[in-house]
Structures are given as structure tokens and as C-alpha cells.
């Protein structure tokens, strides 16, 4: 097991190297750099361009060097915790992202838990009572959730929240707390605002997950070992949890791999509509403004999370399923 994890970690290195090169190449691909768009912006506003300052910046951030050199500077910096400098915010990348990361994680974790809490009972109910009225009803609601665009639902809920509860529109905290250090009152305010993004982001995911749990469980319920469990005299509910439900979890665990990166990014459109202080909108604006180190480091972080997430779900699968743990594949 230890050897396996070690080997998998080793395999992550070339993956990440290739990803970083790709990310850098794509960000470099459009003509110009941040300084050029900065100069163009200043000129457009009729302001004087401080050539000396531009030259200084150009030297400082290595725009005079070749792309290959800059790539290695960037990658090398990451090993010592230096992710580069955000031009737009005039702050180190870590400082820009750090603030928003916490709120993003809060929103995403709440969404994931919301999804699981709703999807599991409904999925199990739908599978065990296939083609009942309840099943049809939940299927209808689920399809509705899948079909309604997230941003639309966001707008509607935002309006309703304001009309019914008087919660301020948008954001994750009451405007009074913006920029304030964390306190109990601020935390309560976050909770007040949290439910809208959680529901909005969660609906589509919940609906999809209900369908998948239902389909997987239905497959398993047909299997002979379920009959065996019943023939033993096991209580139907206990039999359901111990055998088919456990077997249908494999898909769910493989999902965890894609969950980690989704915790940090994801739901950008909703975040913009609701003006959430999360990392999603940050990434989009960084890409628009050619704020390359911010965008690049952010994307790198996402790919690292993806690779780690896949590793975690693979290990979890092997731990849960003895077939994966104990039987090797055939080499042709």
C-alpha cells in the first residue's frame, strides 16, 4: 500500500510539470502582456504614461526575458511559496487569493453537504420504490432542478430573499461586515447569506446525484446477493444498507476526485450574479486582464487539487472494495 501511494505520488510529478507548461503556454499565447494592456488603458484615459515606471516594472517582472526563462522563474518560485505578483491588485498572488479562499471553501463545503443530505435519502427512496408516485414526483423535481439555469434561479431567490426576509441582495455577508475581521456577528451574517448560493449551486448537483444514486442502486437491487441477504432473514432495511447501498457507493467515491477542485473553483457564473467574494470571479477577471501570474498560479493550484483528489478517491476505492485491493489486472 505504501509502495503504491509512493508510486502514485511519483507519477504526479510529470503530470504537474506538463500541466504547468500547458497553462503557461496558453496564458502566453494571446499577443501582449499585462503591461501593454495597462499602458493602453492609461492612454485611453488620457493619462501620462510614466515610461520609467513601466521600464522598471518590465525589468522587475522579467517581461524583457524570454518566455522560457519566465516559465522557469515562475515554476521555481512556486517551490518556495512565491506564486508571483498580481498586477491588477498590486499584491502578491497569495495575499489576493488567501482572503477569498476561506469563503469559497465555506460555500462549497456547505453546498456539498447540502447535496449529499438531500440526494441520498431521495435517491434511496426513489430506487426502492421505483415507479411509485413519490419516485415520479422526485424525478420531476430533479429534472426541474437540472433544467433551470443557475443564474436565473440565483436572481429569483435573491429577489425573494430581499422581499421576504429583507436580506441584502448579493454578497456573502451584510455590507456592514465587509472588510471587518471575523466575529460571531459576522459568522451569523455569513450563515444568513449562505443559503441562497448553497441552494442555487446545489440544485443541479443534487438533481444529478439523485439520478445517479437511483440508477446505481437499481442495478444493485437486481443482483442475486440481495436475494441471498433476504433469504438469510435480514431486515430489509439493514440488508439494503449493508449490501446494495455499499456496492453502489463506488461511483460516489470516484466522484470525490473531481470534488476537490470544484471546492475551489466552480459556479463562477452564480458567484458573479450573486457577487460572492469567492475565487471564481477572481479567476475570470484575472484571465480577462491578462493578470498572468494570478491566473496561472490559480490554475496550477486547481490541477494540483485534481491530481490529489483523484489519488484520494483511488485510495478510498481500494480501501473500500477488496476486488480492487486484492486482484491485479491481466497484462496482455
Amino acid at each position: 500500500m505504501v509502495y503504491y501511494i509512493f508510486r502514485r505520488m511519483l507519477m504526479m510529478i510529470p503530470t504537474l510539470v506538463i500541466t504547468s507548461a500547458l497553462i503557461f503556454a496558453i496564458i502566453e499565447a494571446p499577443p501582449g502582456d499585462y503591461l501593454e494592456s495597462y499602458i493602453a488603458e492609461l492612454k485611453a484615459q488620457g493619462e501620462a504614461v510614466d515610461t520609467a515606471r513601466i521600464e522598471y516594472l518590465r525589468k522587475e517582472y522579467g517581461f524583457d526575458k524570454s518566455p522560457v526563462e519566465r516559465y522557469f522563474n515562475w515554476v521555481g518560485g512556486m517551490f518556495v511559496g512565491d506564486f508571483g505578483y498580481s498586477f491588477a491588485y498590486e499584491l502578491p498572488v497569495t495575499a489576493v487569493v488567501g482572503d477569498r479562499l476561506f469563503l469559497t471553501v465555506v460555500v462549497s463545503m456547505a453546498t456539498i453537504i447540502f447535496t449529499w443530505l438531500i440526494a441520498f435519502p431521495i435517491g434511496i427512496y426513489s430506487a426502492t420504490r421505483q415507479y411509485s408516485w413519490g419516485d415520479y414526483g422526485f424525478t420531476f423535481l430533479g429534472l426541474l432542478g437540472l433544467a433551470i439555469p443557475n443564474f436565473l434561479l440565483a436572481l429569483v431567490l435573491m429577489y425573494l430573499a430581499n422581499v421576504w426576509f429583507g436580506t441584502s441582495i448579493g454578497g456573502l455577508v451584510d455590507p456592514a461586515f465587509v472588510g471587518q475581521p471575523m466575529s460571531w456577528a459576522k459568522f451569523v451574517s455569513v450563515l444568513h447569506h449562505l443559503w441562497i448560493p448553497v441552494i442555487v449551486i446545489g440544485t443541479a448537483g443534487t438533481a444529478g446525484m439523485i439520478r445517479r444514486i437511483r440508477a446505481n442502486l437499481l442495478d444493485e437491487l437486481q443482483k442475486q446477493y440481495v436475494t441471498t441477504a433476504r433469504a438469510k432473514g435480514l431486515h430489509p432495511f439493514k440488508a439494503l444498507v449493508k449490501y446494495p447501498l455499499r456496492m453502489s457507493l463506488n461511483f460516489f467515491i470516484s466522484d470525490i476526485g473531481s470534488l476537490l477542485p470544484a471546492v475551489i473553483s466552480g459556479a463562477e457564473v452564480v458567484a458573479i450574479v450573486l457577487s460572492l467574494e469567492t475565487t471564481g470571479p477572481l479567476l475570470i477577471s484575472a484571465l480577462q486582464q491578462q493578470d498572468m501570474y494570478l491566473a496561472g498560479s490559480f490554475l496550477m493550484f486547481l490541477s494540483l487539487l485534481t491530481v490529489v483528489g483523484v489519488l484520494i478517491s483511488d485510495i478510498a476505492l481500494a480501501w473500500l472494495d477488496p476486488r480492487i485491493r486484492l486482484s491485479g489486472g491481466v497484462r496482455k
Partner: protein
Amino acid sequence: MEEGEVLRVNDLRVAFDVSGSPVEVVRGIGFRVCSGAVTAVVGESGSGKSVTAQAIMRILPKNGTITGGSIDFRPKSGEIVNMAALPANGPKVRSLRGSAVSMIFQEPMSSLSPVHSVGDQVEESLRIHALGAGMSRKELRAATEETLELVGFPNPHRAYDMYPFEMSGGLRQRAMIAMALICRPSLLIADEPTTALDVTVQAQILKLLKDLQKKLNMAVLLITHDLGVVANLADEVVVVYNGRVVEAGPVDEIFRDPQHDYLKALLNAAPHFDMAPDQRLVALRGGKRSAVEMQKHQAKHAQPADRPLLTVSNLSKVYHLRKASLFGGEARVIRAVDDVSFTIRRGECLGLVGESGSGKTTVSKILTRAITADSGSVLFDDGQKQVDVLKLDERQLKEFRPRLQMVFQDPVSSLSPRMTIADILREPMQIHRQGNRAEQITRAKDLLTSVELGANALNRYPHSFSGGQRQRIGIARALAMDPDLLILDEPVSALDVSVQAQVLNLLKDLQKEMGLTYLFIAHNLAVVNYMAERVAVMAAGRIVEIGPSRAIFEAPAHPYTRALLKAVPFADLDRPLVLDELVLKGSSDPCNWPDAFRGEMHDLAAIELGGGHQVLARQTADIGEIHA
């Protein structure tokens, strides 16, 4: 209910809800099971025998309900309960299920959960019933290991922590039996307990069931389609057909003096070893078939008869397995096919016999180029010249394909459910650009007639046909290209006895009329005996014995062939199974063979016993030693 009866089923009726309307599948079945005796319920698929068993356990599928009758059951302690009158998942039924009455199923592969250890699953029965209440973990484990030992696990302590997929089919079925017996039930229901197993393993499990039944003085309800199993195990027999009992009585009367036509037909439909060379099977249903003139390519059949059609020499295929786990562990080598050589003469049927894992299917896949052999050659004589099938390139292979066609085991999954029969039959012609649409349709009609199906089948889909009809469509598809050689991979093992007889007769007729050559792969020795002129026996990737059917079946030389023949249960009360040591130890494992037959391939040679009968043994071994 009389004294001594454990179970009495009276006028049982079960209906299934099929898209809103009830369909009665059990229409008044009644029988009894006495304590310490075996009652067998015999019938073909769809007769309602398995549904009856499920009804007794009250584990019918959701859309099935008991609509009438009673199921009186007498547990060891307590009074008689009518299982049919209780709620299916209520506490009373649950407390009896798995403890007083328990069940084993056909598929040992899928009947056990793959992600729970065997010990956990066997022990569970004990934990949920009164017998195991108050037992400590250690006591539970001890009791479980004791039962595992009872059903013949060589190392119960190790088996407890193993997972089902780490075990062979036979061991899995033993685990199932342990699970059913751990609470020492007064009634055991065995639903086709040996159907999915190899014949030697079947013999072991039958012996085990019989021994345990005597030892624990259980009543057993045996559900099966195999009259050979019935003859060896049952005391009383109930024959069901179409949801009704057509004949019932003590086993002696059933076999020696069958009354009902259905039972008589059933007894005649299965091939057996004592058939005269030209004797035909009597199919239960299906009419006479009229011979159809099939268009033949003239050139193909004007060929020298002395050269074999197919010459296979020194075929080998090795698989590298990573044993233990994906977390490391050393590589293991499996010789799926180990230096296999044989020939098939034009117009003959060569039977290839072996148990699962013996390599017979791998051989057929190599012949069709579905997998690549590591070494060896396959020479095919197309009339003018010999072609090495394994060396053909893409284009040549496409040209060659029509010569060699295949019929598969599973008639359900080998036909695409989304294609009409016309499309299925025309597909090979379209691939090889033979004829226009009208010609292809005409040909398809001819093909259907030749397999005794009407032309009205053309526009229907496979799901509207029965298993036997589907298999005939599969045969028609294989004939579409007018092949020389047909590889038949277990073509009848998924079919009922009566349908099996029909398909076997059809294959024989087609062979005669069209001059076909067959490679007939099967595990059922009686079927091979009926079909094949020569037989090759495979074990552990090697052909251990080859020769004329008569010689193989009457004077088998190899210990494996002998064990195989001894393990076949006969539908004849005068020939009970007598199992020797080799069968019980596991005859497919070369380690259990006598010295003269063991060793690496280069130490062994095919020793001629006369008349083309060859056996694989040590070159130094003399004939006397082999015949010993």
C-alpha cells in the same frame, strides 16, 4: 399435515404483475417434503419451479404475489406455520427464514456479495437469529469456522477472511451451503445448486449435499432441471410443467415407470452415453424439417479428402498475471494454451471438452484471430492451398473470414436487440459485399428455412424469440457466409433439455446436408458424445487425450478423462455416482494426477494407443503404466 412431514405445499398459486395485468405462473402446485428426505422438483425453465421455492421462502420479486394455497411448515421447535398467510417481511417469517428454512442458489458467483468477506457473510445468519444471540465475537467466529469445516473448506480459519472472488466456483458454492446450514435448518431449499458448476465440481457438491443431509437429518427441497442430479439425490420427485404438477411419486416409480408423456419425453430428450451411433434425440416440440437446397460454391467441395481441413500445431498462449494486488507482488504466468496440436478432417465433428479455465475457449478465440497466439500455426486447407490463419494480414483475413464462422453460447447477448432478424442475417453479406438487397433477402429467407424458422421471422426483433429459436438464428447467421468450418462454442449449454435436443438434431442435419465441419466446444460429455466423431480433452491448457469418441468414452486412458466421465450423473437409478479420490481432490489440477502424466510439456508426449487414440504422458511411461 401428517407426522414426519416438514413441509406441505397445497394448491399453491403465484401470479406476477406484468405491466398491470396478473400472469399466473404457478397454478396449483402441491407436494410434501419429509424430514430426513429429499424431494426434487423437476422442470424446464418457465415451469414455475424456482418461483415455488421463492414463494416458500417468501422472497418473491416485488411484482410476484401468492394468490392462493397454503405452505405449511413445521420448524424443529414450535407449531406448524402457514408461510403463505404471513406478511412476507414480517418478524415471524424473518425469524424462520435463514434459521429454520434456508436456501442456496444457482450462481455462487453472484449470490455472494463481492465486497464482504466470506466469514462475515456466513456469520451474519448466525448473528441475526436467536441461535447466535449473546454469543461473543470469538464464539461466533468459532461457530462459523466449524461450519466452514463441515462443508469441506480445507483451511476454515483462512477462508473466514477471504473474499468470494478469491475462491473457485466450487468453494463459493460451499460457502453458500455453509451460510445456509450455519443455523442448522430443518429444511434446506437448493435451487439448481450445481447447474453453474463444472461436472467434477458438481459431483463433489452433490456428494457434500447428500452427506450433510444425512448427517444433519435435514429435509431437502431440490429444484433442478437435471434428471441425472435427481436420480442421485432424490427420494421423491415432483415433475412440473407450465405451473402444474404433471407427475409425482417416489423416485423409483418416476424413473422406472414414467406415466406422463412430458416426463417420458424429458427422459428421452437428453443425450446419454448408451445411444446407438445413429440414434437421434427425440425433441419435445418442433416439427419435421424439410431439407433445403442450399446454393454451394462448387469449387470448394471438389478437394482432396485426405488432407485435413484444419491443422493446428504447437499453439501457445501465456498470460502474465500480477498476483496478490496492485500494490506490488510478483508476476504470475498462466499458460492458457500450452503447446496444443490437433487436426480436423473435412466433414467431421471434433469435440473439444474441458472444464472452465481449461483453455478451450482461448483456442477458439485464437482460431478466429480474436486473440493472438504467442506461438504455433493454424493451417487451413481451402481446397487449393494451405493458408496459415495466424499470419494473414488485414485484407487476407477479411477474405478468409467467411470460411470459418462461429456460433456463441449465449443466444441472448450474441444477437443485437436493436436489429431485425433480416438485418442480423444480412450483415455478414453486407460486410463482404455479396449480392444486392433483394438477393440478400432471398438468401436470408433460405437460411431461416434451413434452421426451421419461417420467413415471417425476418422483420421481427430477437426479443420476440425463445432461447432455442434465437440460437437457431445465430446458426443461420454463421451459415450466411457458406463457411467450411463452424466453431460451436457451447451452443446448447444455455438451453433447456428439450430445446437442446432440437438444436443438436438441427446441427447434425445441417452438417450432413451442407458438408460442414464442426469444432464443437462443450463441457457436457453426453452432448459431445452425441455430436462428435472425435474428441479432444483439454485440461490446464493442454490436450491430454484425443481420439475417436468411442475410444475416449469407452476406454479413457488419462486420469482426468476418467474422472470427468465418472463425475457425470446419470438419469438412471442403477448407475449412482461413485466418486473416487481423484474427483474429490480436484481432478483438473495436474498436481493430483499420477506421476506418469505430470511434468513440463517437453517431458511429455502424445502416446499412440491405436486407432488415432492418443494420450499425453511421460515419454518414458510404458503402456501398462498408462492403463493402470
